[in-house]
Symmetry: C2
């Protein structure tokens, strides 16, 4: 289906299928509001308290409040109360759930693409490292037969198990 070839004379196959249950659309309903990915970047980088996230990300306070609430509601983040060791009142931090940690490939892929195309001359300010060996970590495409898919042109979308014909 997706090639960059001369297919403009045929109706694309994808048009015949419904997008109602599309996994990309469903994910973007959760992740796609302004600032959500940036909030996740902060938490993945260890910045977990409301005010720290707000100042480091530059997001407006009630946008941040809304985004955090939604991420908690979707079980991507959880609120963890704690007491600072030097004493003082109970505070709150936001931590990733297992579901939230599964967003690491999304964040890594966005970071890789951003670094490749928009990095400053010095390179990106953050890189991901493999704890085992210290080598940098990247997002990649791999197939279930174990092949590394280096060229995006080797990927073809096709109808999946939940594909439904559009009523038209």
């Amino acid at each position: 289906m997706v090639t960059d070839g001369p297919e403009h004379t045929e109706r694309p196959a994808a048009l015949a299928f419904s997008t109602e249950n599309c996994q990309v659309a469903a994910a973007m309903r959760v992740l796609g509001e302004r600032g959500t990915i940036v909030v996740l970047r902060e938490v993945f980088n260890g910045v977990r308290r409301f005010d720290d996230i707000q100042q480091h990300s530059g997001l407006a306070r009630q946008v941040l409040s809304d985004r955090l609430a939604r991420l908690v509601e979707h079980a991507i983040l959880r609120r963890v109360p704690y007491r600072p060791e030097g004493g003082g009142r109970a505070r709150l931090e936001y931590r990733l759930t297992a579901k939230g940690l599964e967003l690491y490939p999304v964040l890594a892929a966005v970071a890789d693409w951003g670094a490749r195309h928009y990095a400053s001359p010095d390179g990106p300010p953050v890189e991901l490292a493999h704890r085992g060996c210290g080598a940098p970590v990247h997002a990649a495409l791999v197939c279930e037969a174990g092949h590394a898919v280096e060229d995006p042109r080797e990927v073809a979308p096709r109808p999946g198990p939940g594909a439904r014909r559009r009523a038209s």
Copy 2:
């Protein structure tokens, strides 16, 4: 840095660094507006004409117009005029550039996460296949030493070459 461990008593290291040149933020300035990823989904799936994209995605026409213009401006998509074979007026389609194709890991990662957490009982309506062998393709984390990183907890963010101290 990012563990889910008991680090809440220390200031997170990431706070000391500026986010001004962050690759995630830079990418999200391009990709993060409402509907952009969904537009890219359409084009990756072979839906390339304005009206087809509009109807299939459900986006409002001037939001779509704006998003397409921005994607063209950022050299992610290009406009290609063509003539239908049965005759008729010149038409336009939107095609991915090489830079645009490099977003496949982003789209795949989003799709994987969406399918895992929000798929309908039948499963996702679209899957990606490896042209060489036909096996399904996924986004994965790999390190530069060649290891597959299966557990997100094995990933640690660290300051990269472009890391800059915050003035505070």
